[in-house]
Every structure is written in C-alpha cells, then in structure tokens.
C-alpha cells in the first residue's frame, strides 16, 4: 500500500517536501516505515536511526502496526524550549 509520512525540520529540508509517499506492505510496522525512510537519501540514512515514528499524534513502538493509521510522522530528535 501507499502511505504518506509527514516530515519535519532537517528531514523536510533534506527531501525538500513536507510529506513523502512510500510503498509499504499492508502488515508493516513502525520499524518497517523507518527502514524505508532511511533508503530515501544518504542524509536520511544517517538521520533516521535517531528518529521515532508517530502514528496519529503518538510515539509508536517499533513493533506497532501502521494498519489503520490516519497519519504517520517522522519525528527527528526534538529541540524545543
């Protein structure tokens, strides 16, 4: 299936878009999505291992299923404050 993933901060700048469409298996997990995102560019390969995936506004465990997710987001290490 095709899924959109929201991008932020350096990931958005690196891919020059605020969301990316990926092709992923129907039974994919959060870890599978991260693995796929890491293949998109050398920069992403370096960044993604330090990122978390959010499903519907919540941090997802690596084993979490993305089936039924309304929204996926790649969350690079945060730096608010």
């Amino acid at each position: 299936m095709s899924k959109a993933v929201l991008l932020f901060a350096s990931a958005r700048d690196a891919l020059d878009c605020d969301r990316v469409e990926i092709e992923i298996a129907d039974d994919a997990t959060a870890a599978d999505v991260l693995e796929k995102l890491a293949t998109l560019s050398p920069f992403m390969a370096e960044l993604v291992p330090s990122c978390r995936l959010a499903i519907d506004d919540r941090y997802a465990e690596a084993s979490a299923s993305i089936a039924g997710a309304r929204e996926l987001a790649l969350i690079p290490p945060v730096s608010g404050g």
Partner: protein, 145 residues
C-alpha cells in the same frame, strides 16, 4: 477548596504575552507561583546567533504538552500549570517558551519547573533552527540521552 490541576497549553506564532498568562496560575489556595522563560541566547561558545526559529508537529505537540502538564500536576501536586511555546522566528532576548505553575507549597513549584522543561525538551515534537550571524543555518537534533 479550589479546583486542582487546571492546565493551559498553547502554541503561538507571535511574541508570548506573559501578562495575559499571569492570572492563569493565580488561585487563593496556592502559596507559591513560579515562572520560567526560555529566551534566545546570542552566543553559544564562539558562535553568534542572529535568531532562532521553531517549528512543530502542531497537533502532536499540543497533545504531548497537555499530557506533560497533566502528569506534572499529579507528580508535584500542582494547582495550575501553563505552558506556551512560540513557533516561527524568535529574536535574541525574546521568549520561545514560557512555563508557569503554582502549588500550595513552594518546594513543589521549585521542583516542577525543571522537570517540565526537561520533559518538554525530551518529548514534545518541536524543533529549533539556529540562524547564525555568518548567514549559516542549522537544525538542532540533540543526540538521545
């Protein structure tokens, strides 16, 4: 008795209006009110910052801030918590985040402020970009602890 644990969180796109927030932590049954302002610093080591800009995953950041404030209420017996984070460009000396809380006794207010800030910096999906005086820019992605 006053209602316990009222929280207010907000993301704003302009300067944070602290005067508007002040009454939000007032309560006749508190004995302590504390505030923290995180402001844009000009120098980091030898580097000179022109400004910072912030972006967020807004819906998730609001949810994380609300959960964080609610957890702080329970953990520190707080009466009120206010957390406002500014997005977009934040010039030198201006606040990117303002946090206020109140409690019956001062120790809880003192202890809650650093805990909430540490958790905000660990969990809330907001990102800072440094704009340096030499024209260069850098997203800040701290290494996980």
């Amino acid at each position: 008795m006053s209602e316990q644990g009222v929280v207010y969180v907000e993301l704003v796109d302009e300067a944070i209006d602290v005067a508007r927030l002040m009454p939000m932590v007032a309560d006749p049954d508190v004995g302590s009110i504390g505030w923290f302002h995180g402001v844009t610093r000009r120098t980091t080591g030898t580097q000179v910052t022109r400004s910072l800009s912030y972006e967020a995953h807004r819906s998730m950041a609001c949810r994380e801030l609300s959960e964080l404030a609610a957890t702080a209420v329970k953990r520190f017996n707080l009466t009120r918590v206010v957390v406002v984070h500014r997005l977009g460009e934040v010039p030198i000396g201006e606040a990117s985040v303002v946090l206020g809380c109140s409690s019956p006794h001062r120790r809880d207010t003192f202890d809650a402020l650093p805990w909430i800030m540490d958790e905000l910096k660990r969990l809330v999906p907001i990102w800072k970009q440094e704009h340096f005086a030499d024209g260069s820019e850098q997203w800040i992605h701290p290494a996980p602890n």
